[in-house]
């Protein structure tokens, strides 16, 4: 009787998770396995013969200057994550104080995150226009005669993308911090004030350690989310000028769908996976070590 019930429960469980599992199988697991296989082939779209080439692609990757360059660009791109987490924290702390128009302010800071796709990248492209754009117009008017070329020079383009990315992510980080701050007990904050601790000290010694699990979570999810993105970069610079904004995820896309070098593209995409795996591993280990509960 009991085992019968259990078997029935199990069957029912599978019925409920079945459709979703099937989708994951078809659109995640099978393609992932296929891609893993492609890594060891010279598959090119439109070319009829596919050869098993063993570790050739991996060898090529390890000697590919553009791979290392895109890795470096990816790291510069990821710098936006800690910056936007830090700014998100500051905004959340102030919005948590007694303020007027709290809800409106929260909404305005959060707006870029939800409304912005590729469309807004084109707006930034014009804002950053080096000769006549409004940002450099402003910089010139306050006495900076040679403002940066932003997206148009190889040395500044990645940082210009970083600015867009910080702007985009800030609101999300703020929202999550605001929620975390609600969990900090008001008694603790009051006690700290009565003890004569100055505001900045309360912030540094009490609030910051208390929200460290949130900081950690935002850093990890932010890094993983960013490393998977290439849309805005493809839309406004296509990796240029001179590959200065080619990040890894974009490099995969270009190899696959511009050069149709799909075996090699698969190889780079697995390098991307390894990085995500490393970040996740750091999360597992670090959660125990660095986070104060």
């Amino acid at each position: 009787m009991r085992t019968n019930w259990m078997r029935r429960q199990r069957l029912l469980g599978y019925v409920f998770i079945g459709p979703s599992m099937l989708g994951i199988l078809v659109f995640f697991l099978i393609p992932a396995a296929y891609s893993f296989y492609l890594m060891f082939t010279n598959y090119k779209f439109m070319s009829p013969n596919v050869d098993f080439t063993g570790l050739d692609n991996i060898n090529r990757l390890l000697h590919d200057d553009l791979f290392y360059k895109s890795l470096k660009n990816t790291i510069i791109f990821l710098l936006a994550v800690p910056v936007s987490v830090g700014l998100g924290f500051l905004v959340a702390v102030v919005l948590n104080e007694k303020l007027y128009l709290k809800k409106l302010l929260r909404g305005l800071y959060f707006m870029p995150y939800i409304t912005s796709g590729v469309a807004v990248a084109f707006v930034w492209m014009l804002l950053f226009q080096p000769k006549q754009g409004p940002i450099n117009g402003l910089l010139r008017s306050i006495g900076i005669d040679h403002p940066p070329g932003w997206l148009s020079t190889t040395t500044s383009s990645m940082y210009a993308i970083d600015i867009i990315w910080v702007w985009f992510m800030l609101g999300y980080n703020m929202i999550i911090y605001l929620a975390a701050l609600q969990e900090v007990s008001p008694e603790l904050m009051e006690a700290a004030k009565i003890d004569g601790a100055r505001k900045s000290q309360v912030l540094r010694k009490i609030i910051w350690p208390l929200v460290s699990p949130t900081t950690f979570l935002l850093l990890v999810t932010g890094l993983i989310m960013s490393i998977k993105t290439f849309g805005i970069i493809q839309a406004i610079t296509q990796g240029g000028p001179g590959n200065s904004t080619t990040i890894l995820s974009l490099y995969v896309y270009q190899n696959a769908f511009r050069y149709y070098d799909m075996g090699y593209a698969s190889t780079i995409s697995w390098a991307l996976f390894v990085i995500i795996l490393l970040i996740t591993a750091v999360q597992w280990i670090g959660q125990k070590k660095w986070v104060h509960y």
Binding site: F16, I24, F27, F110, V118, A119, F122, L127, Q132, A256
Partner: protein, 281 residues
């Protein structure tokens, strides 16, 4: 006396903080304001400095250009709406179904299965693009809207988010229904789903905004211009009108304004949903 001083001291402080934060907030939304005003300006006014926040001779010409002709945004809108609406409805329902199985039916191996399920989130979409391209071509859905709609049905984040909500519904609620002889399907449809309306709305809004803004999948899987979604149509418009900055901003507005409306209407749900799945997860 001390109390009174502190309360009086509070108001200027409060005002000052509000003003500072308001300035920051304005910087955050300046790109949107600049986009809208530029779309109404004449070409010579685009890069005038100091910036003219109100166009001297507002004109709708650029918006008319975006919305008319053979490459009207009307087509892109219909395509995007079709994909986002079918995708969102499917994703919400399938996620709720799976979330129920993962949270309210006890069976052996459930939690291990859920961990495997979650671990799929680590696979970057770049790994999947090439094999999906090959598979879709083989299945005949490459360069059709199904190439976006079908994968869009399955969102691991969605299952995770709804499961968080289902876990918070007390078990006593379904227990009494069990005693009355109801099965899992009836409890799911009649009891749990109605309770989960806010969570479902949250997922639907977030998912809709993702699908509406999705540029990368559309870029990979669509070639025909008549199938283009708004982000692709926008890119196309900009490539063909590289120096028409007003037109570019009118086109960008066409892409962004619907999301601003969705945001204003659904802000409460979005914030709650994102917070629940991050902090309590």
């Amino acid at each position: 006396m001390e109390l009174k001083r502190r309360m009086n001291g509070d108001v200027p402080m409060r005002l000052l903080l509000t003003v500072v934060m308001l300035l920051g907030a304005i910087i955050m939304i300046i790109p949107f304001i600049w986009m809208l005003t530029t779309s109404l300006k004449t070409p010579t006014e685009v890069f005038e400095y100091p910036i003219k926040w109100l166009p001297a001779h507002p004109t709708w010409d650029h918006h008319i250009k975006v919305w008319s002709g053979t490459k009207s945004f009307g087509t892109y809108y219909l395509n995007s709406l079709k994909i986002a609406i079918i995708g969102t409805v499917g994703a919400t329902f399938i996620s709720a179904f799976a979330a129920y199985g993962f949270s309210r039916i006890e069976f052996k191996g459930r939690n291990a299965l859920f961990m495997v399920y979650l671990s799929m989130m680590m696979i970057p979409p770049q790994v999947l693009f090439v094999p999906k391209f090959i598979m879709f071509e083989w299945a005949g859905i490459y360069n059709t809207h199904w190439a976006l709609i079908l994968p869009g049905f399955f969102t691991i984040f969605g299952v995770f988010m709804i499961r968080q909500f289902f876990l918070s519904v007390p078990h006593e609620i379904s227990e009494s229904a069990f005693i009355d002889g109801a099965g899992h399907f009836r409890i799911f449809l009649r009891l749990i789903l109605p309770l989960a309306k806010p969570a479902l709305a949250t997922l639907a809004i977030i998912d809709f905004s993702w699908q509406w803004n999705d540029y990368e999948n559309a870029l990979v899987f669509l070639i025909d211009e008549k199938l283009y979604t708004v982000p692709l149509g926008l890119q196309n418009f900009i490539l063909e009108n590289m120096i028409d900055y007003n037109g570019m901003m009118a086109a960008a507005s066409a892409g962004i304004v619907p999301m601003i409306l969705v945001f204003i209407i659904g802000q409460r749900f979005i914030i709650q949903g994102l917070t629940n799945s991050a902090v309590k997860g």
